[in-house]
C-alpha cells in the first residue's frame, strides 16, 4: 500500500511537470551536482532538448504507473527509483540542493529493493503470489523508510545549531529569513505574510525553539503511536507555515508521512465500517419487508 501511495504521488507530480519547457532552457546555465557530474556533457546536450525531455518523461511515467499498480513490480520500482533520482538530480543542476524530494527518492529505493509487490499489487493478483512469512520481511522496510524521513527532520536541527549556534534563536532570525524569501517573484508562491512577523519578534525565539525541538524529537514518531499523534500534525502545521510565511513548501515530505500510517489496519477499519453499514442496510430492508407482509 505504501508503494502505491508514494508512487502515485510522484506520478501525479510528474504528470503535472512540463518537461518540454525544461528542455528549452540553455544547458550552459546548468551546474551538475555530486553524482550528476559523472555524466558527460554530450549526454546532457542530447537529453536537454524538448524531444529528449519528452521521451524521458514518457519512460518515467511508464515506470511510475507500473510501480504504482504493482505490475512487474521488481523491475518497475527499480526503474522508477533510478529515473526519479536522475530527474531530481537534473533539476537540482539548475538550482540549489534542497532536500524536499530526497526522502521520497530514498523511500523509492527501499521499495525497489524490498518485496513491496507481494500484497497490494497487480502482480500478486495476476500470479496469486503467496506472501512471504515472517514479520521482518515487511516490517523492516517500513522501519527503514520511517527512519529515513525522521533523519531528514532530525539532522537539520543539529546542523542549524552547528552553523548558526544559539544565534539561530535571535528575534530577528525568522522574520528576516521569511522576508528574504518573500521579496522576489522567483519563488513558487508570492505570499506576503512574512512582513507581519517583525511585529511579533518577541515571540519568534520561542517559535524557532519549538520547531528545532520538534525536529529533534521527530525520531520518536518511528516507534510511538502517541508521539506520532503530536509530531505529524505539528509537521503539517509547520509545512503550511513555511508555505504561507516563507514561500517555501515541502510537499514530498508531507506525502512521505504515508509511511507512518498503518495501512492494513486502516483498510480493515474501513472494511468493518462498510460491513456495518451494509448490515444496517439489510436490517432496514428486512424491516420494510416485514411491514409490507403485516399490512398485507
Amino acid at each position: 500500500m505504501i508503494r502505491a501511495v508514494i508512487c502515485s504521488f510522484v506520478l501525479y507530480e510528474i504528470l503535472l511537470t512540463d518537461f518540454i519547457d525544461l528542455g528549452r532552457l540553455p544547458i550552459t546555465v546548468m551546474r551538475p551536482q555530486g553524482a550528476m557530474q559523472l555524466l558527460p556533457w554530450r549526454f546532457y546536450d542530447v537529453l536537454l532538448t524538448p524531444g529528449g525531455m519528452l521521451i524521458f518523461k514518457c519512460v518515467l511515467i511508464i515506470s511510475l504507473i507500473g510501480a504504482t499498480v504493482g505490475y512487474l513490480t521488481s523491475i518497475t520500482t527499480k526503474s522508477a527509483a533510478l529515473l526519479f533520482l536522475f530527474f531530481e538530480g537534473l533539476v537540482r543542476s539548475f538550482g540549489h540542493f534542497n532536500h524536499d524530494e530526497m526522502p521520497v527518492v530514498y523511500i523509492l529505493f527501499v521499495l525497489a529493493f524490498t518485496p513491496s509487490g507481494d500484497a497490494f499489487s497487480l502482480d500478486s493478483w495476476l500470479r496469486h503470489a503467496r506472501a512471504r512469512t515472517g514479520d521482518i520481511a515487511y516490517g523492516y522496510p517500513i522501519l527503514l523508510m520511517r527512519s529515513l524521513l525522521a533523519w531528514s527532520y532530525f539532522s537539520s536541527a543539529p546542523i542549524k545549531l552547528r552553523v548558526a549556534g544559539l544565534g539561530y534563536f535571535r528575534p530577528d532570525n525568522l522574520p528576516t529569513l521569511a522576508i528574504m524569501h518573500s521579496l522576489d517573484n522567483l519563488h513558487d508562491t508570492h505570499y506576503k505574510l512574512a512582513f507581519w512577523l517583525p511585529k511579533f519578534r518577541g515571540v519568534m525565539p520561542f517559535v524557532v525553539a519549538a520547531v528545532v525541538l520538534w525536529e529533534l524529537l521527530f525520531p520518536l514518531a518511528i516507534f510511538s503511536k502517541l508521539a506520532r499523534r503530536v509530531i505529524l500534525p505539528f509537521g503539517i502545521v509547520f509545512h503550511l507555515g513555511t508555505l504561507f510565511f516563507m514561500n517555501v513548501f515541502f510537499p514530498f515530505h508531507l506525502a512521505a508521512y504515508a509511511v507512518f500510517i498503518d495501512w492494513p489496519r486502516l483498510v480493515s477499519r474501513i472494511s468493518a465500517v462498510r460491513l456495518f453499514q451494509k448490515g444496517k442496510g439489510l436490517r432496514g430492508k428486512a424491516r420494510n419487508i416485514n411491514a409490507v407482509i403485516r399490512t398485507d
Partner: protein
C-alpha cells in the same frame, strides 16, 4: 510445514536480512557522512536548508523578473509558471546565473570553456555572462504559448536586481542593476 520448506524459508529470510543490511548501509553511511561534513553530495542531502538563519544587518540581494510586451507594457513574469519543473529552485538558478556559477565547475560545459578562454579567465569574465540566454529562453517559452498576432507577446525580458540592506524592516526595494534581453 515440511523440514525442507522450513529450511527454504530460513534461507530466504537470511537472504532478505543480508539485503536489508546492505540497503541500510548504502543509504545511511553516506547520509551520516554528508551530515558530519555539512556538505551535500547528490543524491545525499545534509539538510542544509535554512541552516544559517537570517541576519537583519547582512542585507539581501534579490531579483524580480518582468516582461515587456509588443505594446510596450511591462508585465510581471514568474519563471515558475514558465518552467514548473524548477519548483522551489528558480530563484537559485537566477542567482547562480548572475554570479556565473556554471563557469566555476571543475569541468564546465564546452561552450562555457570557450567563453572563459576568450575572456581570459573567470576573474575577467563579466558577471551574468549567460543571463541573456536564460532570459531569452523564458521569453521564448512565454511567447510559444501565445498566438503570433497576440499583443501580449514579449519583445524583451528584464531582470531587476534589488538590494535590501537598510538593517530595518523597511526600504526593501533599492534598485541596483537591470539586465534586458531582446527577443
Amino acid at each position: 510445514m515440511t523440514e525442507r520448506a522450513q529450511a527454504l524459508n530460513a534461507t530466504r529470510e537470511r537472504y532478505l536480512l543480508t539485503r536489508y543490511a546492505a540497503l541500510t548501509v548504502a543509504l545511511f553511511v553516506p547520509l551520516l557522512l554528508a551530515f558530519a561534513l555539512v556538505r551535500n553530495f547528490y543524491p545525499f542531502a545534509a539538510s542544509t536548508v535554512m541552516m544559517a538563519g537570517g541576519d537583519l544587518q547582512a542585507g539581501r540581494t534579490y531579483y524580480v523578473m518582468r516582461g515587456e510586451t509588443s505594446t510596450g507594457e511591462s508585465i510581471d513574469l514568474s519563471p515558475i509558471e514558465l518552467t514548473n519543473a524548477l519548483s522551489g529552485r528558480a530563484w537559485s538558478l537566477v542567482g547562480g546565473t548572475v554570479t556565473n556559477k556554471s563557469f566555476r565547475l571543475s569541468s564546465p560545459h564546452p561552450a562555457n570553456v570557450v567563453l572563459l578562454e576568450a575572456a581570459g579567465g573567470i576573474e575577467k569574465l563579466p558577471p551574468a555572462s549567460r543571463l541573456p540566454d536564460l532570459l531569452r529562453s523564458w521569453g521564448t517559452i512565454y511567447n510559444l504559448r501565445l498566438s503570433p498576432s497576440s499583443p501580449q507577446r514579449l519583445q524583451a525580458v528584464i531582470l531587476d536586481c534589488y538590494r535590501w540592506d537598510s538593517g530595518r524592516y523597511s526600504d526593501y526595494q533599492h534598485l541596483v542593476q537591470s539586465w534586458r534581453a531582446e527577443l
